[in-house]
Symmetry: C2
């Protein structure tokens, strides 16, 4: 592979906010960046050397795009993997590897992988059709998840009792024992070609139940050292078993009995790592670049307490985005606003995020609440 | 003026590394950025909404460029100020103000401004022609500086004795008493439209005498509190006297008697503030944006010891740039590489910078020396 600074052409499948923040970091290394996204107004459109408008799931489009780069990565896993495998055979470096993307695209394969590799996860059953569902061995309530294309809470359905089966998905899915969890936690792990592995400190998340999105995240966690160490060990074990090159976000539940269960994987920069930009020695974006370029991985230590808040489009507002309250928010020290360059807002759309850094954890939480109440995206 | 996020069109005169790092920060605010630079391969070329190739000193070019934006700023002060004044009359917001750029462009006017405002500076005399120079009242040795267009050590000449007069500049210049200084120091100050003023902590610089460029900078300074406070007071006084909106870098000497003398001003982000990206709560680039957008200024506190090293083209190398030793440098924790996207290297050209952050000052210095010996730009 060419040197990662200067003459390397990096292709990114997807031109959303994750790609945008990856480019913001890649600027430091003179990387030539090309981006493919179906939306001609995607957040990356003006920040790359070449922006191609096209489908991420179309074989020809992905193949032709990939032929123009030396190294291909993703910022979304819903991409045409057949094209990636062909590109790999033809000598394009694709990180994360197509086989990893293929596995993670399918929540059924993901769960089977957990089982085969003795990764703790909630009990599950693969469902092929309505009949399977009727004969399910998992007690109510349980969660039904589409095997493919679920995203940000879409493709997930809670089956509380028999009466809910009527509206259950009929597509290939899996059902999973309901976890009455104490906390959602996440660890981002990076692995490079040489096999070096580094985890970021574990974070705790709070979800907006209505939007089913991470809304409030705090780093580092104050849960016990044992829990943090176990979560890191699990994340490393998964990265090693997959032999992934790049970042892997591992979302987990800590259940009420103190047991960690892996929920889902994302083989790319992830919403649960945005606070690393200001809160850690290296950011997840820098780390992803280092991993896919086979460079030494960076130091992931936390510099301070960091809270990340997603800035979501307000309910009842759809259209050109207007940001309220930014001036007030900028008046707080240690508050970092990141807008994603999306022209149009709609309810719960991720329009940006804010990171609050403070050596005093309580003050950080107080500021985070203020930011949540102050910064609004309306139309 | 329009809201500074989303719908505001920001024009930057100059597309070099300062513009590049300003854009890298402006991404967080959805700002639409247009850049004018004479070099069609300038570092900003691929990172803005519109890149215009054209002269910064040509009236028509600057005027036509400025008519397409709401707010115009600079990353280099050698620009056509007549055009800026006309644009200002026609309602374009120009920060820093054209009158400030005009004053700072002319080292003679700068010195007179210091004198009129009782800003401590080395004794000087304005020189219009060779005869003035013969009749100079300042004892040898002294420094002769061209009033206009000096840059990075160009346009400066040391007159050691009578025999040096033969090669002295004949253009309008000033001569300045030789300062046998202990330290070069700098303070970056920001002022917004409302008149809020904030200084960054004072930094100490080490120059490469051969290249006459800042090569090694350390922040925060460990000089006495009194010196630091005096330097900050001087920087604020200058910003207030100028009523500048934007950043102002104030380069100063600390002479052997402990007296501070102001050397030069730069009304823009400056080489002496690059370490603020990782070393301070807000960076100089964020602060410049906040100032020109009339937002609350950010907290300038140092987070840690930060050392900034310019990455200069090696002597004896001219042509397409090759970067040696990056992998080794990335192996040190807390080391941040910033390359400027310049395709061609030449001796002493600023190709990038590296910031080293460490809570232990001695370790930071040790790492900085390692980086200096390891990272090389050759052809």
């Amino acid at each position: 592979m060419k040197a990662f600074y200067g003459d390397l052409r990096l292709g990114i499948l997807g031109g959303g906010q994750l790609g945008r923040m990856l480019i913001q970091q890649a600027i430091n290394y003179n990387v030539t960046v090309k981006v493919l996204d179906p939306d001609r107004d995607a957040p990356c459109r003006k920040l790359c050397d070449e922006f191609v408008t096209g489908s991420l799931s179309d074989y020809e489009t992905v193949y032709n795009f990939g032929k123009k780069v030396d190294l291909l990565t993703i910022e979304i896993e819903k991409v045409n993997v057949d094209a990636l495998e062909q590109l790999e055979r033809e000598g394009v470096v694709v990180y994360p590897q197509p086989r990893v993307i293929r596995l993670i695209q399918d929540k059924g394969l993901q769960k089977q992988f957990f089982k085969e590799n003795e990764i703790p996860t909630a009990e599950f059953q693969i469902i092929s059709n309505a009949k399977d569902l009727e004969q399910a061995q998992i007690p109510f309530p349980y969660i039904q998840k589409l095997r493919r294309d679920g995203y940000d809470g879409k493709g997930v359905y809670k089956v509380v009792d028999q009466s809910y089966l009527e509206n259950a998905f009929t597509e290939p899915s899996l059902i999973e024992r309901w976890v009455d969890f104490e906390k959602e936690i996440a660890v981002i792990v990076a692995r490079n070609e040489k096999g070096d592995i580094e985890t970021f400190p574990m974070v705790e998340m709070e979800f907006n139940p209505e939007a089913n999105l991470v809304e409030f995240l705090i780093s580092p966690s104050t849960l016990s050292f044992e829990v943090q160490q176990e979560a890191a060990t699990i994340a490393k074990k998964i990265a090693e078993s997959l032999r992934i090159v790049g970042l892997l976000a591992v979302e987990m539940f800590l259940d009420k009995s103190g047991k960690i269960l892996v929920n889902e994987l994302a083989p790319r920069p992830h919403n649960s790592g945005h606070q690393t930009i200001e809160g850690n020695v290296v950011s997840q974006f820098e780390q992803h670049l280092r991993a896919i370029f086979n460079q030494p991985l960076g130091n992931t230590e936390s510099l301070s307490n960091a809270i990340m808040i997603n800035v979501l489009g307000e309910q009842g507002h759809e259209g050109p985005a207007v940001y309220q309250g930014i001036e007030k928010v900028l008046n707080c020290p240690g508050v970092y606003v990141h807008l994603y360059g999306k022209a149009l807002t709609k309810p719960f759309r991720k329009m940006g995020h804010v990171t609050i850094v403070d050596v005093d954890r309580e003050k950080a939480i107080e500021k985070a609440r203020y930011v949540q109440n102050t910064l609004k995206v309306v139309s």
